[in-house]
Symmetry: C2
Subunit: 200 residues, 2 copies
């Protein structure tokens, strides 16, 4: 059953592209904006058009930015850091930045190796990463890919590149998450936690 107005129906259909938004939620969003907040709706429309049109990737680290270089790569101190952290996506970069723990630079793969989906080293910009490794200035490369099969494959591939260029490579610790309960942890996380135990 379509909505009474074609424009309203177009809006409801368009809202369904958002992750986690089905027909009912899309309808509720459309009505809420129309009834209470048309200005915010217009602002969202303009923000979407601007972002989709103008946001590209940083020339150096490949994260999303509308400039040629992102804020981190154009920072005089951070862009000279000897630490390079390789992450799978801009969202992962964002999550690490939010911890405030890391003050080096990043390289964003925008995906992970997945030959069956046609995602090889070139799609992840690994040639660009190799150039950066060859140029020197990187003392340690920290692998922060997802702890999944594809993430691990990607990590091994990048570790190979590092060995070729004599760059130290490390990986995020695997173990029990803070606040987790041992009882509910999967066996593979638990065995990683055992083999990686530290003196206390």
């Amino acid at each position: 059953m379509p909505a009474s107005s074609p424009l309203l129906q177009q809006l409801i259909d368009a809202l369904k592209v958002l992750p986690g938004v089905g027909p009912k939620t899309a309808q509720r969003m459309a009505f809420q904006l129309l009834e209470r907040n048309r200005e915010a709706g217009k602002k969202l429309g303009n923000a979407l058009l601007n972002a989709m049109e103008h946001i590209g990737q940083c020339r150096c680290c490949r994260t999303f930015t509308e400039a040629e270089l992102c804020a981190i790569c154009s920072d005089d101190v951070r862009s000279q850091s000897p630490l390079l952290c390789v992450v799978g996506s801009s969202a992962d970069l964002q999550a690490i930045e939010q911890t405030g723990q890391f003050d080096g630079r990043y390289f964003v793969l925008m995906g992970q190796l997945s030959p069956l989906d046609g995602i090889g080293p070139a799609e992840l910009g690994l040639n660009v990463l190799e150039q950066q490794l060859a140029q020197g200035g990187i003392a340690e490369l920290i692998l922060a890919t997802n702890p999944t099969v594809e993430g691990d494959a990607t990590a091994y591939y990048i570790a190979e590149l590092c060995h070729r260029h004599q760059v130290t490579v490390s990986r995020l610790a695997q173990g029990v998450p803070v606040g987790g309960e041992l009882e509910y942890l999967d066996g593979s996380t638990l065995s990683h936690a055992f083999s990686g135990r530290k003196s206390f």
Copy 2:
């Protein structure tokens, strides 16, 4: 912690106006559109701008439409129906249309009486409704306002208008919802169901 790019941060902030969308969900939506579906993101942006700019209210029933008269009010058969259903919002109209049970016309209040919030009869277009009652052609007015305190107050007010113009007025049945479990129903719904019981 702001996102690395101002445009991205604007998009994330703008997405938070959607109902049920917090900072984390907004970030996920923004990254998903940027990474996978920029065309759909642009389409959503345009749909929002078009809808916010061009959707107004039907001159006759006050529902959302970009035309002067909505699809129902410009339908030769339905607009002449002797049944008029009064609903609180366009979403309620939509829900009733989806049942396919009602083939009369509607009047959409776009709210309910709430004097403390400055919403009186004029804000709900009740003067327009009274004109329609005075013009004749309505045999029965069906009250489909929400079964809440404000909805009930609105219903009583409209019933008064109907009595003044000798129009029959009815109200949606109150009782147990289909698929509900008696054990978990509130007492007031149960007592409505008892007092409105039907021979079987």
